[in-house]
Every structure is written in structure tokens, then in C-alpha cells.
Amino acid sequence: MKHISIILVLALSLGIIAGCSKSAPDSTKGRVVVSYWEKWSGFELEAVKNLADKFNNSQDEIYVDVLSVSEIERKLLIAIAGNDPPDIANMQDSGIPQFADKNAIEPLDDLMPIINVKQEDYIDIYWKLCRYENKLYGLPIAATTIALHWNKDIFKHAGLAPNTPPQTLEQLDDIAARLMVKKDNGSYEMLGFVPTQPGWWNYAWVWWFGGDWYDGKNITANCPENVAAFNWIQSYAQIYGARALQNFTSGFGAFSWSDDRFMSGKLAMVLQGIWMSRFIEKFSPQLNWSAAAFPSSGGKLKDVTMAECNMLIVPKGAKHKKEAAKFIGFMQRPENLEYLAMKHNKFVPLKIADEMDYSQHPNKEIKLFIRLSQSPNAHSVPRIPIWQEYAHEIDNAFQSVWLQKKTPQQALDEVQKRIEIKWQEYCDLKQRRLERR
């Protein structure tokens, strides 16, 4: 007993001492400290930290403090609601409509003189992603697109021309069927293609069929093109028998490169993003791969892709908006955007991306991804504030269809019905808010 009380007292004192000590770094003396929440970690975070250091060393009024935050959207909302937001944060474009609609982020229009950039310099789609309802809410620091990645060795091995990717979705299905190798115990030694990988964009497949989720006015969840896309998804489940595949990468800690089939040479073709080259370099450098535009149904639509970007935003209630704007301006300088792009295997969201020298760029297919970003068939996530709920519904529909619990028509009708209700609720609410003013 005596010993335990001593231990407790020691622990207590430790706790109090630790709790009382302030930990402000000396380099911030006299400077305005701008807190920056960064969603990236690992090497992507390193690149941002290096730029922040460069900024901090180049002047002595402002100190940017970079913090790595996971589940950043939720944390941001909580922090803003709790009156304790950071001054800048890195947010994915898909969250902008919701945040802007709720007045959770500050429009940057008034700060433009400090930031000092021009719309004309940016690739159209990315500028569009930064805006919502005629205001500018952020500026991009990383631009991405997605494409078909295929394993040339597997093609060669199966007697297919290794440098010729499928030009239509039907060709892709054909190749997938040919490359599939099933083991005795029912699991798969080799898969040609499976629409549940990587599992991050269950909503994206409809674009290759000419469908979409929102047409600017109405919810279009169950339009015929979407149903066609989900029929195609379900066809794979029927071929493979969903049981034999570890499916959905849902939840926390779900995705692991060490498990990834494409990386380990067990999946011939996959829809993946521009960052893929970096991870291949790191985890499977011997992989002989290439990339091309993911083919559409019947080959009718060319260069379909999804464009996403990460952007710097200023949360509502940020205490150092002007200083934040200065840093945003700094990050938007072409040389800094280029540095980040090189480190992340991405490209700059600027029109000059076309003319840049990519001989040193780590991603050998970089020109493809840039081309895709300027395609008329480059899509983004629907720009509506109820997108989070919509995405949940789509995931649910995708899973039901994959597990063959519902037909695509049924699943999408359900999504249509539910989201129409939520959309109506949202519109009513918006109306009420306007009337209040």
C-alpha cells in the first residue's frame, strides 16, 4: 500500500508539472502564429512542412505551425463549432459545398489582394472546385485525376499486347475474364479487374456510362445511365461470387498497400489515382505498369476522369485571417506548387502544367493525368451540401448491389427516393433561412 501511494503521488506530480509547462517554441517569439491543419501524413506531410519552413525562414512576422490531423473534416467542424479553429486547413474539394453552406469557412474574395492570383492561371476544373455559389472559398495545392493502371507483365504473360490498354469498357471486361485465375478452394489467384478496388469512389463508375448524380437542379440517382453502370458492377459480383473476395475497404484502417492486389501483382487492371506511381515506387518497384484513360461504355466518351483537389481554406472564426492569406499566397506561387507536385507525384493545378518540363518528374505518365484534367469529361463530386449523406446512400446501394441483395434498379430507386426527401428538406431549410434574414 505504501509503495502504491508513493507511485501515485509521483505520477500526480509528474502530471501536474507536465500540465503546467508551456511548450511554445522559441522561434515564434514576437511572431504571429498561424496554425495550419494538414490532413496528409508521411512524405506528403514532409513536403508541406518543408514549404512552411521556407516561408518561416523568409520573413519574421509570421510563423506557420503545421499540424497533422486525421479525419480532418469532422475535427474542423468540431473545432469551428467549439470556437477554436485553426487559421488554415487543407480540405478536400468534396467538403466545400457543405462547409460553405453552413458558413463554416470564410470566402477568400476579400483577401484576394493579399493572395494575389488570377483565375486565368488555373486549370478550369480546379478553379471551379474552389468556388461555391459565386464565392471563392479556397485555393488548390494539389491536383489529381484518376485513370486506368495496368500491369504490363500480366498482359504479356497472357498473350496480350502489353502496351495496348482496352479502348472500351467491354474490351476491359473481356480482358478481365481472360485473366481471371481461380484457385481450388474458391479464392482467386489472379483477377483481371474488380470494381470494388480501391473502393474510394463507388459513385464514380456512373460517369463512364454518361450518368451523374445531380444535374444542377434535380437528383438523378436512378437515371438509366446510372442503372446501367450498376448493372455492370453487379455483373462482376455475379462472375466472381462476392463471397470469395474480401470486399469493402470501409472503416478505419481499412486500406493497406501491403494487402493491395495490384501492388502484389494479383490484379491486372485497376482504377487509381495519380499518386499511385509513388506508392508503386515505394512498395513494388519491380511492377511493370502503365496508365491510360479508363475506357467508357462503348468507347463513346473519351478521357473520362474524376478531378479532385486539396485546397487551403480559412475556417470561420480564424484569428489570423490576413496572415493566413499571406501564407496561402506563398503556397500558390508556381515554384512552390511545383515543389509540392514533384514530391507528391502530382501536377500543378495551373495551365502552365502543359508546358512544364517533366523529364525529372517521378510519375512517368504525368502527361496523361494533366491531359485528363483538361478534358471536357472531367467530373467532380456533385457540388451540393448534402453530398455526405448522398455518398453514404450510394455506398450502401453499391454494397447491396455487390452482395446481390438488390437489383441495381431497386437500389438506385431507393437512393433516389431517400435523397430526394433530404434534398427537399435542405431546400426548405434554405428558404426558411433566407426568410429569416
Partner: protein, 288 residues
């Protein structure tokens, strides 16, 4: 007569031996099932990353990568989070001990009108689901300016949780009234009685309460998830999230190494406090 007894005795012994073997077998199987995940966690923490998902799986790592532990503690600000977690735990335990003993004393050693009715109210609060208070509590903390600090995680423990009040009250009731009456007659104040008579007798139970609270705070996930916004206030439970990145996937070996490190202090504390802990639990006399 004697012969009968001897026969009975022998078959009794045989029965006892059989039942003992049976019991041990079941317990061993159960123990393997209960221990296995921990063993697996430890095993994974020492493997190089590709081996973690290899089929067929290996229990003994091909290489003992002790460096995983070093990496786990540097990949995230492990010690900072550990410090935060420790602060929350220690302060919560202090808060719990102080408030629960005071309150339990009030419910057991002082006779006052309406005491039992209010106590049932206390018990009833155990029915309040956390989600009911989660969001408004968050707004309250926001207005108090506590969001962004560790305060939401430990200050409420100064308000005495129903479960602890219940445990301590049960125990306090078993202390003979003669002891306290004698002290009262001598002019001792209630607080004096609590400090000088009741508490010294209650050490095992207090240890139980402290231990339960420490473990609960150490392992708490939802609270930190909702109330901690600044990365430098994160606790270990939240810190585990950093072993995965946006497209980067999960590093199982580091994650398991970090998890093992997080579990370790608790196991050590429990190991040392075990005897007193079990003693304390049985003294609470959880009947009625």
C-alpha cells in the same frame, strides 16, 4: 462400514480428479482463445511489413524487428500523447476519488431525509445514454472555452460517476456504526470521520475505483474523438489513427507495436495491484 467409506472415498477422489481435469481443460482452451489476439498483436508488431499479411501466417516473426517499436514511437509524437493521456488519467483518478468518496459518504454514513430517493436518482442516471448529452455537452464545453484543451476529459470526473458512488456506498455501509458513533460523540466532524476512520478502512475499495477509472480514461476513445481538436492534446487512443494516411494505407506492424506499448502500462499496473484489487472487489459486497 469402514469398507463402504473407503470405497466412497476412492470414487469421490476419482470424481474430483476427473472434474479437475475437465475444468482445467476448459480453462486452458478458453485461455488460449482469450490470449491469442494479444499474442498475435505482439507477433505482428515484430514483423517486417510484408510478412504481416503473408499467407500462410507465421506466429514467430522471421526477423525480430525491435526497430518497429522505435519507429512507432517516432512516427507519431508518442511520448507527447502518452503525457497527455497520463495527465487525463491522473487528474481523472484524483477527481473521481475525491468526489466519489465524499458523495458515497453522504449517501451511507449520514441519515438524512430523502436520502434513498435521491440515491435512486443517482442510479437512474446510469441509464442516460452518452449520445443524449454528447452534442449539447460539446456546445457547453465550447462556450466554456474548453474545446481544444484536455479539460473536457477530466474535469467532469470531479462530479462523481454513479457507478463509483454505488461501489463505495456499498462498502461504506459495511463499516460498523459503532466506530463512527463513538467518533461523533467525541465531537469529531463528519469530514474528520471520513478522513480518519472510513477512508483508512477502505483502501482496497478505493484502489478498485482508482484502477477502474484509470483504465477507463486510458482507453477512452469517443471522448477524445469528439472533444480534442488540437493535435498537441491528442491522447494515445487517438494517436493510433496516424498509422494510416489518405491514400497511404495502414502500417500494421507499427500500429501493433504502438498498441502493444499502449497496453503495456495497464498490464503492469494491474499485475502489481492484482491482489489488492481482487480483495477490494469482494469487499464491496455487490449484493442488494
Amino acid at each position: 462400514m469402514r469398507k463402504n467409506n473407503l470405497v466412497k472415498h476412492k470414487s469421490h477422489k476419482k470424481q474430483r480428479l476427473l472434474s479437475s481435469v475437465a475444468v482445467h481443460t476448459v480453462l486452458i482452451i478458453g485461455a488460449i482463445a482469450f490470449l491469442f489476439p494479444l499474442v498475435w498483436m505482439l507477433s505482428t508488431s515484430l514483423k517486417p511489413l510484408p510478412e504481416t499479411t503473408k499467407i500462410p501466417p507465421t506466429i514467430i516473426p522471421s526477423k525480430f524487428m525491435w526497430s518497429n517499436y522505435a519507429h512507432a514511437t517516432t512516427a507519431i509524437p508518442f511520448w507527447k500523447y502518452a503525457k497527455n493521456t497520463l495527465i487525463v488519467c491522473v487528474l481523472s483518478v484524483i477527481g473521481t476519488l475525491i468526489s466519489s468518496t465524499l458523495v458515497a459518504y453522504g449517501f451511507s454514513r449520514i441519515q438524512w431525509k430523502g436520502r434513498n430517493a435521491v440515491f435512486y436518482c443517482v442510479l437512474a442516471t446510469m441509464m442516460i445514454p452518452f449520445p443524449v448529452i454528447m452534442a449539447p455537452l460539446f456546445v457547453v464545453f465550447g462556450k466554456l472555452g474548453w474545446i481544444g484543451t484536455l479539460k473536457p476529459l477530466w474535469i467532469p470526473s470531479f462530479g462523481a460517476a454513479a457507478f463509483n458512488i454505488f461501489l463505495l456506498r456499498q462498502f461504506f455501509r459495511t463499516i460498523p456504526t459503532e466506530l463512527t458513533e463513538a467518533a461523533r460523540i467525541d465531537g469529531c466532524s463528519e469530514l474528520g470521520i471520513l478522513l480518519r476512520i472510513v477512508l483508512p478502512l477502505s483502501k482496497p475499495v478505493l484502489l478498485v475505483v482508482a484502477l477502474f477509472q484509470f483504465i477507463a480514461s486510458w482507453n477512452d476513445f469517443l471522448g477524445p474523438l469528439v472533444y480534442l481538436t488540437r493535435e498537441n492534446t491528442y491522447t494515445l487512443a487517438l494517436g493510433l489513427q496516424f498509422f494510416q494516411s489518405q491514400h497511404g494505407g495502414t502500417f500494421w506492424n507499427y500500429l501493433m507495436a504502438a498498441s502493444s506499448l499502449i497496453v503495456l502500462p495497464i498490464i503492469v499496473i494491474y499485475f502489481f495491484a492484482q491482489k489488492a484489487f481482487i480483495e477490494g472487489i469482494s469487499l464491496t459486497g455487490l449484493k442488494g
